[in-house]
Symmetry: C2
Subunit: 441 residues, 2 copies
């Protein structure tokens, strides 16, 4: 597949319009950010930068791409000839993956010739929006689980192949212990985990036979599924098998009243001499049901989270946009109702209270001197080339845990959170005001 043509048609027709202007196109600054947070989000965990930089670094039109574009008769020969040499040669500033941001704060700032900076919009949003959406959902699950390990089981109802892969990566970035998605494990070096399906138990006909056969062919310590017919009876079978020397690491419960089932199963296992066998719960879980199970005291040791994680089911989109903030040295401001932008290339400066918790984010112009605080955006690409090697998944996960621990309590809570509201510097406000009074772009 051509990533390059994975874009909106208007990016190509605008590119053609810019090409017709030739060298007169100046340098542009675009910023990518979420205008607002969904009601139940107190923060975002930024993710997807590695894929975004890969895209920018390898962006080119193949001969097949150009031939196909020619076949549509929408483009001039002169324009099509320019595409062979089209590259992204700009600079990129970004908030590193795993860091927390709030509404209005840029995740990414692209500084490049206008045609290049414009053309990359659609795929940059597509990549960064989704990974950030899922990393944020995953972080909420991690907070709810209070230290219990979580695994991503969501591949089958993720929205296609790339969503399944990127969701697995985003989940582990935000603190999940593992994923069940094999290709994500291979591609991103993520820990893999798996159990068995109900159909396996059904096909073997008898739970005792099914569990024994599975354990005999599995090199890992076995996790068995105990809710195909009757959870209590299956738990007794597990206890018998453990007493007879079989290594069963855990049982999984995937239906019913998970808290009540876990209490019952725990008692049967403990009374049956299988107290080392752990209990995994799964089945339409999300951060709210995990929190309810944890606070109920249910003896659940870990959780598998699937569909609702991989689709961020309660809030499946963010209001993520990519907006022109400056062109040819002049700040820009869009004034569409409800979609106004703040002009100028910006930096975010973070401040912490005496307990080390985030207490204020200051938005200032990128070239504004003497602003205090920790700058969040760092230079990650110069003239189309990465500045540094990308951090590992483990490094990003450590960054995310550090930032989650420093969240204000009001932003961290799962229900009706209060996100930090960034404060705009006097310079940005003055620029916006002067802009409006001049009544131009």
């Amino acid at each position: 597949m051509s990533d390059t043509l994975l874009t909106d048609l208007y990016q190509l027709t605008m590119l053609q319009a810019y090409a017709a202007r030739g060298s007169s196109t100046g340098s542009a600054v675009f910023e990518l950010y979420a205008r607002h947070l969904p009601p139940d989000r107190g923060f975002l965990v930024v993710a997807g930068l590695e894929q975004a930089l890969d895209y920018l670094e390898h962006l080119r039109f193949t001969t097949a791409d150009v031939d196909w574009l020619a076949s549509t008769r929408r483009f001039s020969g002169a324009f099509l000839e320019t595409l062979a040499d089209f590259r992204f040669r700009g600079d990129v500033w970004a908030v590193p993956e795993g860091r927390v941001v709030f509404a209005g704060e840029p995740w990414l700032r692209v500084e490049a010739a206008l045609p290049e900076a414009q053309f990359v919009e659609s795929r940059l949003i597509n990549l960064l929006h989704f990974s950030t959406l899922i990393a944020t959902k995953a972080a909420r699950c991690v907070l709810a689980a209070q230290g219990r390990p979580l695994a991503d089981f969501g591949m089958r109802r993720a929205h296609g192949a790339e969503a399944a892969l990127l969701a697995a990566r985003a989940a582990v970035l935000s603190g999940f212990a593992a994923t069940a998605t094999v290709e994500a494990g291979r591609r991103y070096g993520l820990p893999l985990v798996g159990t068995m399906a109900h159909s396996y138990v059904q096909a073997l006909g008898d739970e005792s036979a099914a569990f024994q056969h599975y354990a005999a062919t599995s090199p890992d310590a076995t996790t068995v599924l105990i809710d195909t017919y009757d959870t209590g009876r299956a738990a007794q079978t597990v206890a018998e098998l453990v007493r007879s020397g079989m290594k069963i690491q855990a049982v999984r419960i995937d239906s019913g009243d998970l808290a009540a089932e876990a209490v019952k199963v725990r008692r049967i296992l403990d009374e049956g001499g299988a107290s080392t066998v752990r209990i995994i719960a799964s089945g339409n879980l999300d951060e709210l049901s995990i929190e309810a199970l944890v606070t109920s005291g249910a003896p659940i040791d870990s959780f598998g989270v699937g569909t609702r994680l991989d689709t961020s089911a309660d809030a499946p989109t963010l209001d993520a946009v990519y907006k022109l903030q400056s062109y040819a040295g002049e700040p820009c401001r869009k004034r569409s109702p409800g979609k106004e932008t703040w002009p100028g290339a910006k930096q975010v400066y973070r401040h912490y209270d005496t307990h080390g918790r985030m207490c204020a984010d200051q938005m200032a112009l990128a070239d504004e001197p003497g602003v205090a605080g920790e700058p969040l955006l760092v230079c990650v690409m110069r003239q189309g080339r990465r500045v540094d090697a990308h951090p590992s998944v483990a490094q990003i996960a450590a960054q995310a845990q550090a930032d989650l621990a420093r969240l204000p309590m009001e932003a961290r809570c799962l229900r009706a959170p209060q996100p930090l509201q960034p404060v705009y510097s006097e310079s940005i406000r003055a620029l916006a005001a002067s802009f409006d009074s001049r009544d131009r772009r």
Copy 2:
């Protein structure tokens, strides 16, 4: 990417367990269906079958796949050796793409050796779930628009690359006129459409200059974006340009009160001698806001639908499952609380009333003789090979329009719809009862 390893780990460990049993694994029947519909869905439009059959037909483990699996030390050498010859060699029955189904009705029935039928579960659900989800959302938008053309603008906030491509295809299958996603146009032969971005108007500085320059370089009749600064002023500019001979096909409004803006813009265009210029509305639209705009009488000629279409934002998942219904000639039934299955390989027979509307769906055993009605599942694959060439996008879209026109009114309405409830035959009920009394799988 290897589609083959885009699966859950347990599919591989179960495959290993089945391989250890050798030829003793019998033939299995799995059915894929939605257990329930989301509250605001009165029907589903089935889609994604072409991709699912492609997957089955081309399924194989590459040498690189096997080498990587070996490196994980989770699998035996004997098992890994079997993978080179692993193919899907089963039969598949399916409801054709574009047809309407209801809860519980199989979209797909797979009949194959147990390891093959089991292994394909994760990717089959992943493909069919998403395309059906979006085709259904798109059909609701088409019903709401009452004949006005719709375009898919959702690529940027779709969940990754494959979601963007499959959503564009699913939208056109259900009656959308076009998509903005270029690669989807190339891959599936879909009509493409595009306008311009706010940043284009901002960069050119002046709307008159921006519109003229764009028109000069665009071979298509131009659609211009008029809400960057002031919609009324931009509409006047459009009227002036049209009077001076410029070909402007349409204006797009992307923010504000779309109904009020459209009334104002229509008046300015008509009074300015530009009555042939049409109005396109976009901006966070879905079937409910489209219905409100249409019933308000707003002079909007067509709609661009993006984020909420490509993510099915109000219901981003379906309860789609793939369940073992029969194994080695014996019906199976799972009895997990709330997740019980009906045993046996099934067929759906549809009945129509005297007005040609669907009035009853009868679920019967696939081999049950003498059942009246239109059978929905047809054989699409025999021994791992497609039976026929797949219908074209246009043929599928025609099928979808025919089925949507035959929906019961209660299922067709957008709010609190009443889906058809399939009726289970006496044979299925008797089988389930005998099964429960025997207290086995």
